[in-house]
Amino acid sequence: MKILRSWLEDYTDIPYSDEELAERLSLSGTAVESIEKGIDDRVVVAEIKRIEPHPNADRLQLATVSTGGQEFRVVCGAPNIAVGQKVPLAQIGAKLPGGELGKATIRGVESVGMLCAADELGLGDDHSGIIILSDTHIVGKPLNHYLGKSTIFDFEITPNRGDCLSHFGIAREAAALLDKQIKREPMSVSTISKKVSDSLEVEIEKTEICPQYQARIIENITIKESPQWLKDRLVSLGQKPINNIVDATNYIMLDLGQPLHAFDAEKVGKKIIIRKSKKGEIVETLDGVKRELDNKTILITDEKKPIAIAGIMGGQNSEISNSTTAVILEAAEFDPVSIRKSAKLLNLSTDANYRFERGIDSGSVEYALNKAANLIAEISGGKILSGIAKAGERKKVDAVKIETEKIRQLLGLNIRDDQIIHILKLLGFVISNDNCTAPSWRRDINTWQDLAEEVGRIYGYDKIIPVKIAKSNKPKESGYFFDELVKDILKKNGFSEIKTYPFLSEDDIKAAQIKASSLLEVANPIQQENKYLRNSLVPNLLKSVAKNPSFDQTFLFELGHVFTKDEEINVLGIAAAGKDAKKLIEVTAKDLLDSAGIKDLEISEISRDDLGRFKIRKPLTYVGEIPLGKFADKYLETNQPVLKINTDKVHYRQVSKFPAITRDLAFIVDKKVKPDEVTDMIYSVSDLVNRVELFDEFTSDKFGKGKKNVAFHLYLQMMDRTMKDTEADTIIKKIVNKINKEFAAELRK
């Protein structure tokens, strides 16, 4: 959620820099995801003078824009530009959220700057078109003169903190950190003598779905554009201004967190009824979609017809139009669970339902209604009728016992009772003796543990002293330790551990000839790869064999869960392909039996047909698969395996999409030279060395006294293209020279 610093400052003075404020808020529970500084001065208001088609691209246009003194020609892809419009022009060098703008040649035409959509300026996510500025913006002025002057903080508000989904809510948090409590200004409403009660009443069918509903009527309004200051604030936060009435309701929602809705009063009867929908009832919403409802959606209706889906979206039949002269302004509280269910069912996500689902301030419904009514009257010339049509009331909240001793104990903080009470008061809690009542904007306070969090986050978790945990005996080794032992045995035998996805796609089950009916199926996969759960490790092992054509020998294993409709079991799968595959996999099976008691691991050769379906080009491929559970139990009865930690140095090198060139190098070196030292040195010669593998090391007198042979496989690659043999030769030459020099080595030919 985006928050303007200047708007926060309407409520409280903030003596911190942007970064300090962000850090303090993050450390007390309202996490700032990013800070957008105001828009760069080099983004200016420009007027479009001419538009011509791009000579080389149908979808692009060439716009010539003026900044007063100068004209610039820019390439533009947005369809919404027209001659005479005022638009934001980012000039060369402007620092934008996407980086610094440079000169660009687009399809053969130079573009001297860029016309900007909202997202390109960091004003929200909209990329549907260039921002069209108002006539009152002066050509040549920096855009930040009008909008984007203030820093924008982007908050990630956790679902329990609906009270922070507004500028007032964040200002209240910021004030508490400054040991201040901000109160709302009292709100008086000047009304005319005509009464709301003469033309409107409200009835709530069940207060469980709608605890409170209030409405005011404002007459004699003129629908027009909002004043510049209001539009600028909305645009700065990525909202599109629509008209003064809709803008005012959006503004108050961003201001106070209370969603509001305005109906055209002439299109609504004399009574508003809040009820659940009937199955099959149809409502056409503001977006023009006819929506068929279940029997649980909360509806706003008049005597005859639904006029809105409560808390989610208004109905088209009561929409504000340019001819609207009177509005019914609604502020209400709806049941969060019902709103969430309906929004999900309708697949709608609006700023309103987001706030209702998280709980609005039940104590400020009327306040928000009054503030919005005043704003509408001010910017539309409207007159507010006296009185409020209302039904229901704010629900009572249960008191929570403060339990200061338990709070101290749980946090491990030396904090006095009076400090605890002070923090709770600062946050708006009402204290009476040992009990407190949460303020109307907090819906997440039910237990003393919740109070402990409030105290801790304001007092500062950094003041908690670490406490050592009590010693205890090592528990018996579980199946995990057996699995790790099995992995070590396989590694020793030349196998590499893979971890694959536990999913199978339609293509996978076709290749593996598995019946879909035997598999667990994902109900809502976003990607087709994630349709079924595997009942065997073999398909993914074979896919991995196929993925490694550059290795003459592909020896792989995986330990993982497989699934049938009845059970989930832990299984070992191994695959060996290439030279000596059969012999090596049999030796390994024997070792698994001898070292871990894994019996009856059957090895089978993959048929030609199967190899074809999995696109494996190595003719001899063998696999085996076996559940581990019973062997683990047996082994652990009498053994206590210890975790082996590998301390070999890792040189991580990115893997290229392009094939590697492999070379072997053997050196005669002094017996005392460690192969790792040679490996490290080879890596240090060039970043294009992807991997160095020792494959041979032996001493022999034929190399001279105290000498030995060390031999390495080298894999060389480039990130952006296939390496040429001559390029590999150059690197190899460098490596040989370096090794010869550093280790007094001699290349073995």
Partner: protein, 226 residues
Amino acid sequence: MIKGSIHPITEFLRTAIKVFRDLGFDVYEGPEVETEWYNFDALNVPAEHPARDMQDTFWLKNRKVLRTHTSNGQVRYAETRKPPIKAVFPGTVFRNEATDAKHETTFTQLEGLYIDENVKVGHLIWTLETFFKEIYGPDAKIRLKPSYFPFVEPGFEVDVKHDGKWLELLGAGMVHPTVIKNMNLDSEKYSGFAFGLGIDRMVIIKYGIEDIRHFRSGDLRFLKQF
């Protein structure tokens, strides 16, 4: 003889588990296909609560889920045991989302749970500090930021200072009394802490790996480097 290799996630988990093992933690692995109860309800994440949207869940046609966190082990492990309860739960967890260099459907977590009388936030801080000093060296520091996970109260986002930078590495908190009750334990008598470490992210940071999808690629050019 060709050289075998162990997956970098496996290697890192071993290093991590060894630290907790030396502190007396048991190692338990729960199921990946989980009931709604153990993955959500038992952890105080009710149906129709916005907290359910905090992760994108794979639902199976049999109404079970692919666990969204290894926290499913909390109630499973503790409901048949008596405090002190000290265990870590390594395992694979799932998110139903489109994948790219930074997003994965399938990754690895290590959950920790400690329940006893008088367990406090200071115990959590000590345990995590001890862990990160083992992993990142004696200069490692941690800090708690208030956050929200329905199964803990208070809940924290934990930052770790490593090479002069604060990294957001894990979520943690004091086990929620409702969760303790669901373990068949007296929530007035017992308290505890829990934390969940994202292992993939830590391995990515350790080696500077540029694409999270390498872990499950089966590509030997990647795997044999470890």
